[in-house]
Each structure stands twice: as structure tokens, then as C-alpha cells.
Symmetry: C2
Subunit: 393 residues, 2 copies
Amino acid sequence: MNELFSERIADVPKSFIREILKVAVDPEIISFAGGLPNKELFPVDDIQKAADFQLGHYGRDILQYSSTEGYLPLREYIAKRYKEKKQLNISADNILITSGSQQALDLLGKIFINKGDHLIIEEPGYLGAIQAFSIYEPVFRAIPLKEDGLVVDKLRKALENSEPKLMYLVPNFQNPSGITYSEANREKISQVIEKKRCYIIEDDPYGELRYIGKDRKSFQHFLPDQTILLGSFSKVVAPGFRIGWMAASDDLMDKLITAKQASDLHTNYFGQRILYQFLVSNNLDEHVEKIKERYNKQRERMLYYIEKYLPAGISSTRPEGGMFLWLSLPDKMKAMDLFNIAIKMLVAFVPGDPFYVGKDGVNTLRLNFSCSSEETIEEGIKRLGLAINQLLG
Amino acid sequence: MNELFSERIADVPKSFIREILKVAVDPEIISFAGGLPNKELFPVDDIQKAADFQLGHYGRDILQYSSTEGYLPLREYIAKRYKEKKQLNISADNILITSGSQQALDLLGKIFINKGDHLIIEEPGYLGAIQAFSIYEPVFRAIPLKEDGLVVDKLRKALENSEPKLMYLVPNFQNPSGITYSEANREKISQVIEKKRCYIIEDDPYGELRYIGKDRKSFQHFLPDQTILLGSFSKVVAPGFRIGWMAASDDLMDKLITAKQASDLHTNYFGQRILYQFLVSNNLDEHVEKIKERYNKQRERMLYYIEKYLPAGISSTRPEGGMFLWLSLPDKMKAMDLFNIAIKMLVAFVPGDPFYVGKDGVNTLRLNFSCSSEETIEEGIKRLGLAINQLLG
């Protein structure tokens, strides 16, 4: 009865990563394809203490149903951290706990997107967002990224013949490119968007993982009423909890809460309470420092070995934080072709294709550096160099 | 910028229960309005042991991202239990772990419902389902329930001028009515649906909580290819984990997994692993027996006090299991009017209104018996009797 499927689901891209990684099951393969945080850094012992404390003191409560908005003290913790770290005044009342920040994308799709509505995304863009929004059948308008952020002229031009409701951006250490928007770029974008009836969705899962340079202002500073901020504990504590959040203005909260309730009633309360206990019983800053120290070393080594082992004509972004960097191959080389050779040489990455809407055969690819040791990075990039050379002939 | 909201979100009913319970904040109020399991019965110590074991042995793994389908051993456990308890042959490959069974409704809406598609629901029907499906803008066709299940003639008639894709049923101890479909009723429904291009969504969160009578066959027995089974650990272990599941045929799994991935990547893995550990380290049957013993006593007392304290002309369903019963007031009496008086007398319930699509001012109401002690039940029903008498004048 396949003809019963909805029109919307026909349009949703299958997970490309899922599909291509089916060929990468050989345990000998060095994979830079994942997007996982490094599990060696998970604060297991402290989470065990937190779980033990919560179950010992509040067991019955933390196992019960809870409120759709999420655990209030956790929302207050997030609000306080915004204030301390980014000088943002966001009330706990404007924070909704979501089942990972992926769910925030689904909820925003639900409350905003009618079929055919225009939506601005980055090119390349985060594929989880492309997938989540696709369900609601928007028209994607992709605006290219360059070193310092979005190409503002192209944005301006796109707005001449389009009235997008939403603009989805990952301004810090973007996935997949690793690019960070400069403050000037953020200001220019804000000036363009200020006059429009359009929300900026600022997705910031990696914001705390800055290794060099200094923090840039959130779009919340420039356009507080038009910015919806997404955050996540997945990269700074652990993703297994599936706990993220969304900060939105008063006029959106009611609809978001209705959509959240219809979607899953509320985010798992057991995890919210244990995560909260971990946060208040430990120093998150110290923990984040450990992550940053490790990831930065791996980032540096990857950049170093790219320089050392990859042939001329390959360029890489130089991310100031996050978990990814982005390679551009010579113009006519297809990342998918390289992938097929690389897999045989036992190294994997994500070809750029799924990060574009309506393009394939691209010459770009994503490398993850958070999950591999320095030795593995050397060996993997060496193999990648051999694969590129083979493809070059 | 409220005009930016999608059409779909405008149609979703606000949570009626949420709204009406705002008036019921007085701690002196005895509430039969909730739908919570009794937290005194949560197996806190055993869950603490399970958490400790998992974090001690597999801490890093259970905190990482995981697969969209859910933890395989947990899905195998569910499959095995279906086989043992209900003689159903369902493979773990056909089970998707969801963020509560509420999410299963959202995923089914996503993959099936185009705006205007017909969808059959029970009258009265589960309001969480009405809310979840409303997002996808179907036309609801409500078929009344009577003592032994759906009114089959009305179903047949509805199918003469409608081609519903989906039919949403809660055949065991239904929420809100407490009604259980007889086996003959299930068979008749199956005969009617067999010839149609329509899936039955059989939602069974309370199925294990049977206090009297014997188990009835699932629609899976009659229509294996047309039945989608939903289940949940919320009522037999604890709802705070937000872990439910959906069992569906091969041709649906791919689309469901795509929709699940777009919605929240996967259900919280931390909770899945700890719940699994609890299940394999303990005897779930023994635990369920404890719940049944307690709820059954409360159910019996509530029925007894209804007989004793409510005036003539009030009828109640006599549920064989679950957590709810359903009162019908005299024809012209409105449950909302009674609610307003009852609240002043410090007793709360859910007026029937939100369980109907396109009807209000109904004379029915839902009472929950799982969460109140026998003494509280006596006092609450006494107050309810006084309120009814006051309304009767």
C-alpha cells in the first residue's frame, strides 16, 4: 500500500551518510566521516554520581511524566550561562528543552513552514537541518559561504525575489565547513534581515568549543526579536541524553509548546534531571577546557598532515573551533569518486554532496577531527593523500 | 510577526487539560484529572541498580549517539515479549523505538497524512492522538464507541463515503472511556477493513494492565499486514524515560526511520540502556502484578463509591483494566458546568469535551483511578456527588 504515503515524505532525502557508511563497515577503515564527540572525554564517573544522587533522593519524581517546557532549574541554568558567557538576557520562560537540537528544527518546521515557503540555508549546509525542514516541503534558497561567513550580496539578491520566513545559520564552526562568521558579516546580515519579516535560526551546538580567536556576538545581540537560538548539551557533555534547547521570543513560545506536546509530550525527564545534577555538581567550564585541549590538538595535527600528505591544489578551511574541516579538491574532481577509492584504501570521509540542495558531483568533502587520535589522523590523512594521487592519475 | 505561522499549527487544539488544570492548582483539590501512573510503584531501587551497572560497565557507550531504530537488544526484548505474551511473531527489525508512543503518532502523521486525508478515530478518542494528527491537517471521522467496542455499522457507513488511510484505535481499556473491544468486535472490524486500503493503528499502552477477564487478540492476529502496533514502557515501568515503540511491516520501516531521524535522530540512548538493564535484571511480570493489584483495588473502590455517593441517572463504564473510567451525566447536564462547581468543592476531573472532535458541551467526563489512595477516592467521589447534586439543583 505504498501509494498511501504522504507527499511530504517522498521529498525527504534518505540519510546519505547512513547509506554511504554501509560500505564502510570494515573495522580496518579509519573514519573521518562521523560527527560524534569523542567518547573518551565523557564525564562518566561524574554522571554516575549525578544519577546515583538523583535516583537516591528524587527517584519517584524523576521517573514520572513532567512538563512540556522542560525542567525549570535546567532552563534557568541555561539562561544563567547565556548571561555569563555571552551577556545575553534570555529568560528561562523563553527556553524550551528539546529532544536534541534536531527536534528544535522539526518543531520550527511544524510551526512555520507551509508547503512552498522559502527558507534560506547556507551552502554547504547542515544536512540534519535540510532533512528536518524537507518534511514541511519548503523551497530552499541556498546562499554560499566564504571564509568570513555568508556572501551578503547573494543574500541581498535572493531577498529581491523571495520572502523567506526563516533563515537557518550555523555561525560558529559550521557543520560541515568549520567556517565562523566574522562580526562584521553578522552585522551586515542583521542589517539586511532587520527590515524583513524573517526569523534567523541560529544553531550553535559547537559555540563553546572555540580553540583559537575570540568569541563573536550572537545574532541575538543584533536582532533579539528575530533570532531563535538553538543549543545542545551533546557536544559539551554527552549526546546520549538527547537534550538540547531552543530560546525564542514570547510570541513563539505558545505555538512551540503546542507543537512539542503533540510531538512527544516532553523531553525525557530522567535524563534532564541527571544532566542537571551533573551540571550543578561539577564545573562545566573545566570539563569544556579538557575537550577543547584535546580537540584542538587533533585539529592542529589534521591541518599539519593535510599540508604534509595531500598534493597541491587541495585547500582546507582552518576552523577556529568545532569538530570539522572542509576540503576542496581540484575543480573537476568529484568527492564521490574519491570516496570510492578512499574506501578501498581504508579511509572514509563524507563527500560534500548531501550538504547541498539540488547539486551533486561536488568537489568538496568533510573531515571530522574530534574522534581520532593523533596517530590515527596521521595514518588516515596519509591514506587520503594516496587516494587523491591515485584519482589524479 | 504572527502571520508567519504555518496553517497547520493554527488548527492544533491547545492542550485542554493543560488549560483547565491551571484553575486546579489548589493543593487541597483531589484530582482525578491526571493520566499519570502511580509514582509510589516505580521500581526506583532496581532502576538505580540498573543505572549504576550500565554506567559502571558501559558508561562511554551509553552516553554516545546511537542508531535511529533504537537499541537492538531492547527491540529484541520487545519482540520476545510479544511472542510470549500474545503469540505474535514480530521481528526486532520491525520495531522502532520512539520517544514515548506519543512520538509514534507524530511519525505516522508525517509519513501518511496529506492535508484533507480522512482518518478514523474513536468517539470519545484519545486527545493526545487528536493533537498529534491535527498537525498534519486530516479530516477526522469519529466512530462512536459502545460497551463492546466500535459501532461497526457506523464504521461501515463511514467507509461508504470516505477512504480513510488510517484508523486509530485503543482497543484495550481505552483512554478516555476504559472500554475494551470484544473479540467479536475486533473480528468484525477486521473484516470491514481487510478490503480497504487502510492501516489500523492499534495503540496499546495499557494492555498489560488487565485486572479482570481475559486477554483479547490484537488486530495483528486478524490483519498482520494492515496493523501498526504501538506500545510503551510508561505504564509498566516509568514514563520519565519517554520510551515507547512502534511495530510496523517492512514496507513502512524505511519511511518511519527517515521520519524519526528527521525528528530527533534517535530516542535517548542513556534511558534505553538503563531501561533495558532493568528489564533483564528483574522480573517485569512480578512488577506488573504489583501495579495491577494496587490499581485494581483503586478501580474497585472508585466503582463502589460511585454507586454509593453519586445520584441516580449517572452511569459509569466498568473497565477491565487500565487507569480510567468514564461517567455519563444526565442528558442535559454539561460536564464543563459540573467542572466549575466541582473545582470549588475541591475535586477535579477531565470534562469529556477535548475527547471529541467538533463537539462541546458534552455530558461525559473522565476519572483517573491510578493515582489516588482508597481514602482519597472515597472523599473525592463524595465531593463529586455533592457537586452533581448542586448542579441538579
